[in-house]
Every structure is written in structure tokens, then in C-alpha cells.
């Protein structure tokens, strides 16, 4: 078996990042930052999206028992957006509305992960089936005149 080639940091488009360890959460942050740079996002937009990605990656790890993140750059020219899909095959979320409430946590955290990520991204969608897993899709883009 050949060792996996070192991923190029800028090559975020179409990448699938497995989320199995804390180091993978860091990798998700780096890849997100690179994708936001590709679409020419501002510092604050980049920080928002990287922070949201970090929260969601941690949820995937802590509550979903691991999973993956797919990242893609969609749209063309100045309308390009960064789209990320986090998925796991964990226990799922029985009550999504409750899980989206600030301060609600089943894992001893602050309960800001989901609700915070939702506030930080332009688009946020969540689907979860108890016993099957959870999928969260977030999209962000850069505001330019």
C-alpha cells in the first residue's frame, strides 16, 4: 500500500475529510479557510465559516461518533459559494428544535455548537434520523457589491 499523498492545503474543492480525531477537526478548519480564500471571502466571513466548521466537525466527532465533511465550491465567478456537508452515522437527534436551542447540550459542552453554527453561516440545513445519523449542510459566500 502506498502512503497517502500529502493533501495540498489550497485544494479544498470536492474534498472529503474524514472526521475521526481532534486532529481532523483542525484539518477541517484549515481546508475551510483555504476554500474561503479561494472565493475571496473577507476576514470576518472566513472566521465565521471556519468557526462554524469547527463546531460542526466537533459535533460530528463527539455526538456522531465520527463521520466526514464534504466541501465544495459551487456557483461561478463572483457568485461562488463554499458548501460543506457534515455527516455521521451516529445516534441521530430526536428533537432538532431542542438541539438548536442555545445552551442545550447532551454532552457537557456549552450547547452553542449547532445554534452557533447556524448563526454564523448564510444557509444552514439539518436532517437527522434517530438511529441512522445526522447530516448538516452549511453554505457561505462573500458579500461584494
Amino acid at each position: 500500500m502506498r502512503p497517502e499523498p500529502e493533501q495540498e492545503e489550497g485544494a479544498a474543492d470536492g474534498e472529503v475529510i474524514p472526521i475521526r480525531t481532534g486532529a481532523d477537526v483542525s484539518r477541517v478548519r484549515r481546508v475551510t479557510a483555504a476554500a474561503m480564500a479561494t472565493i475571496g471571502a473577507s476576514k470576518i466571513e472566513t472566521t465565521r465559516m471556519v468557526t462554524a466548521a469547527s463546531e460542526l466537525a466537533r459535533n460530528t466527532l463527539d455526538y456522531g461518533g465520527g463521520g466526514e465533511m464534504r466541501i465544495a465550491i459551487v456557483g461561478r465567478m463572483s457568485k461562488r459559494k463554499v458548501e460543506m456537508i457534515f455527516s455521521d452515522r451516529g445516534p441521530g437527534i430526536a428533537d432538532i428544535a431542542l438541539a438548536l436551542k442555545d445552551g442545550y447540550s447532551t454532552g457537557g459542552g456549552l450547547g452553542l455548537g449547532l445554534s452557533g453554527a447556524k448563526r454564523l453561516c448564510k444557509e444552514f440545513e439539518i436532517r437527522s434520523v434517530p438511529g441512522e445519523g445526522t447530516i448538516v449542510k452549511v453554505v457561505s459566500w462573500t458579500e461584494r457589491p
Binding site: G22, R30, I44, T47, R48, G109, L112, G116, L120
Partner: protein
């Protein structure tokens, strides 16, 4: 002086009765847990009165890192040292507020100089109070 020039460990410097550490790398969870332990031991060993944590190189503080900073600050307080987080980037501050984290109980200053000033002033006030009592 610093004792922890090892990979995956954040070096802690001593300046007078202050401990200074500067986070220059993307913080992995394990590193910040180690830092918490290292710092508690160093405070006890050096009798430091203040801890300055420079996060100017950090471009993301998520709720986990925020919680750890608050924890470190609480532990230091119990060990009779005050903590000041310095150098937070504006984008990080905006994002933290939007995320819903107020970092309550954590003192902040714009840069290391001002942070040091805060700690010195705190120590001076403390000394004055003890003198009067």
C-alpha cells in the same frame, strides 16, 4: 525560563511574577488540555500572580477553545493568579459574540503591554488592601 520546548506543547515564559504564553499554532484539543495542566503546575511552582495569554496569532476561537480559556482563567483564579487574554483579533471577537460566547469571568486587553498593566495594577491594589487591613 521556559521548560517546555517540545512539539505539541506551548512554552510558558516567566517574567517577574507573571507567566506569559503565546499561542502561535492552530490549537489542537490535546494541546490546550496539556496547557491547562502545565499552567496550573507552573502557577503553583512559581507563585505567579498573573497569567497573560496572547492569542493574537489565533484566527479561530470556537466554543471549545473559548470554554478552555474560561476554565484556565477559573483555575488560575483559584490558585490566586489573575488571567488576562490579550491580542484577540477583531474578527474573532465578532464571531465569539455571534456564536453566543461572552467569555464571562475572563479579562481581556488589547495587547501584552496593556495586559501586563492590568495585572500590575491588580497586584498593587491587592497589596494596598493588605497594608490597610
Amino acid at each position: 525560563m521556559t521548560h517546555f520546548l517540545e512539539p505539541n506543547r506551548i512554552p510558558i515564559f516567566q517574567i517577574g511574577d507573571c507567566l506569559l504564553l503565546t499561542i502561535q499554532v492552530d490549537l489542537e484539543d490535546r494541546m490546550i488540555m496539556t496547557l491547562k495542566d502545565d499552567l496550573a503546575e507552573r502557577i503553583a511552582k512559581t507563585h505567579a500572580k498573573g497569567v497573560l495569554i496572547d492569542i493574537s496569532a489565533l484566527d479561530v476561537v470556537d466554543s471549545f477553545i473559548g470554554r478552555m480559556l474560561a476554565n484556565i482563567s477559573a483555575i488560575a483564579r483559584i490558585l490566586d493568579a489573575s488571567t488576562v487574554i490579550v491580542g484577540m483579533r477583531p474578527a474573532v471577537a465578532i464571531t465569539l459574540v455571534e456564536l453566543g460566547m461572552s467569555l464571562q469571568g475572563v479579562r481581556t486587553a488589547l495587547d501584552v503591554d496593556r495586559g501586563m498593566e492590568l495585572i500590575r495594577r491588580g497586584a498593587a491594589e491587592e497589596a494596598a488592601r493588605l497594608h490597610e487591613a
